[in-house]
């Protein structure tokens, strides 16, 4: 406990230090960036498991930055939800980094890739662990800027265009968030989120300033999470990035910067109201359907997956916004399944691009014969996202639909089932076009991707397959229930402020 508490800032410090080290030495030492870039997420994954264990045992772990106590100092803390997110982030990031070691060789100067990758990791960890509102903004900008640069990594026409769009939209989102923070600071004279929650609760509901700040946060984090009216950047930015970064963007960034921050603030700090909840339900349902319908007509493999992300994020927001224990459990579980499954699908799309040089689905066909590992793991990811038992995605969607019925939203439940069917249709169509059928003449010379890329995909596919095991009561208590508890009782978060 003491050790976990003491070393909590390492989640931010180690990736930042690694990025510094690589930019100092990496450009002349061959192989060093790959080693540092893979070992850091893998090591932090083990540490995040320790943090998870500590939060299960003690509830909340708090670190006083620099030894300064509040109200002067800044707090860094981890509760069940943070630990849950940290485990997902580091697991996926470690697999992606392993994959990138081979994939990134086709670009010049891979060390820049690893520098930016580690900065993204530091930014995401900062957003997840910080208890200070302004720190959240700073880390969010760090992660978004590094991601924006990585979208433009190939410096081709489309990549630059997508990166510019992403940069403008995300900066505007961040500025809306900054306005919201300024208003809340004026209202509460406090930047610590836990204490802010206390003050807002003490002043009572119905304040116009809090409502206005809420609107700004809705727009800002809505842009970060790509909820439907604010989603225009996502289908451009996610396919344009190199495959490992697409996996990070779709699997982790829109979740930790968007969904995690959105619900942390609306449930734990501002307090959820029935009106807000119905707005989120509507936006979630709209995202689900828009993403699925747009994905139906896509011919670009990665663009199809990006639209699918939009749709699945809708499911997550929908589940979390239901507000019932079952709905929140389903939303969080779907977040886990989608992180793993969609990262895997983006990695397999990257493998296909690596081997054949194309992303057009109608040019592929029969690739399973030449690339069995990619084909199989891609199918596993598609089945998990599409919701076929016994893959994890099936159970999470089932829980969300049950929760919607239980909460009395029959219409939304039918809507979710219908979207689920659409999801299955477009994913299976893509799988069929890419991997089944006869092998075209021009792909006769295609070879399976290198070993480390295959290993990363197989690990993710294995987790996709066994994801449903997390619902076993012992594992559920450890992993999902801890996180769900934080969101079910939002006021618990203010305990971080504790006895100060």
């Amino acid at each position: 406990m003491m050790l976990v508490e003491k070393y909590l800032p390492l989640f931010v410090a180690i990736p930042l230090g690694g990025a510094f080290l690589i930019s100092l030495l990496g450009w002349k030492k061959r192989g060093l960036p790959e080693w540092i870039g893979t070992l850091i997420p893998a090591g932090l994954f083990i540490y995040s498991l320790v943090t998870l264990w500590a939060t299960t045992k003690h509830g909340i772990v708090v670190h006083h930055l620099g030894g300064w106590s509040p109200p002067v100092g800044i707090l860094i803390g981890a509760d069940g939800l943070t630990a849950f997110m940290l485990v997902i982030v580091h697991f996926v990031a470690a697999c992606v980094a392993l994959y990138a070691t081979d994939y990134i060789k086709k670009y010049t100067s891979p060390w820049i890739f690893y520098v930016l990758f580690l900065i993204i990791l530091a930014g995401m960890n900062g957003v997840l662990t910080t208890c200070d509102f302004f720190n959240l903004f700073v880390f969010m900008e760090i992660a978004s800027l590094a991601a924006c640069t990585l979208v433009a990594f190939g410096t081709e026409r489309h990549e630059l265009e997508a990166a510019f769009k992403y940069g403008v939209m995300n900066t505007m989102g961040a500025l809306f968030i900054l306005l919201g923070i300024a208003l809340l600071y004026g209202y509460t004279s406090e930047l610590n989120m836990a204490d802010m929650a206390n003050i807002i609760a003490a002043k009572g509901p119905g304040s116009k300033i809090v409502t206005m700040a809420g609107v700004f946060f809705l727009v800002g984090f809505g842009l970060k999470a790509a909820l439907v009216p604010f989603h225009a950047w996502l289908p451009d930015a996610h396919p344009s990035a190199p495959a490992p970064i697409s996996a990070i963007l779709s699997g982790l960034i829109i979740k930790s910067l968007g969904i995690y921050a959105l619900f942390r603030i609306f449930i734990c700090v501002l307090g959820m109201t029935p009106l807000l909840s119905s707005i989120f339900l509507f936006m979630g349902a709209l995202s689900m359907a828009t993403g699925a319908i747009m994905a139906m007509g896509q011919t670009d493999f990665k663009r199809l997956l990006a639209y699918s992300s939009l749709s699945q994020v809708g499911y997550i927001v929908f589940g979390l916004a239901l507000g019932t224990p079952l709905g929140i459990l389903g939303g969080l579980f779907h977040l886990f399944n989608h992180s793993v499954g969609k990262s895997l699908l983006f990695l397999t799309a990257g493998s296909v691009e690596y081997a054949t040089g194309t992303r057009k689905l109608n040019e592929m066909g029969g690739l399973s014969n030449k690339m069995p590992v990619t084909g199989t793991s891609s199918l596993a990811g598609a089945m998990s996202i599409g919701g076929i038992p016994p893959f994890g995605g099936f159970f999470s969607k089932l829980i969300i639909i049950f929760a919607a019925v239980q909460a009395g939203h029959i219409g939304y439940a039918i809507w979710a089932v219908g979207t689920g069917v659409l999801t299955l249709v477009y994913l299976m169509k893509a799988m069929k076009q890419a991997f089944r059928g006869a092998l075209a003449e021009r792909w006769q010379a295609v070879r399976e991707v290198p070993m480390r890329m295959r290993l990363a995909m197989l690990i993710l596919a294995f987790v996709c397959l066994t994801g449903g095991l997390l619902l076993i009561p012992q594992l559920k208590d450890l992993f999902l229930n801890q996180a769900a508890k934080v969101l079910i009782d939002g006021r618990m978060y203010s305990k971080i402020w504790g006895g100060f």
Partner: protein
Amino acid sequence: MILYMSCFVLFCIGLYGVMRKRNIIKIITGIIICEYAANLLFILIGYRMGGRAPILAHGTVIENMVDPLPQAVVLTTIVIGLATTIVLVTLAIRLYEKYGTFDITKIEELKG
């Protein structure tokens, strides 16, 4: 109150620039205006009427000083704004090299 409201007016001017202008450089300028509006609001929130600079020296009495926290915060956002502007301008230069124009309606190949 008018001062606070004028911050939001400034923000809306920036937002108009981002949404309606076709030139990339003007869009970036719009973002910078929005940034200034947000910073100005933060500084105004920390201001006390007739307050003095928040510097604690020997023999000074702490009374009627402006809130130092927003000033520290705004310093950081200015630096972040600088970084964002640099990235966006860099992208604009590279876009100009590839497309030969700053017109956003002509740089529109990603659709659907």
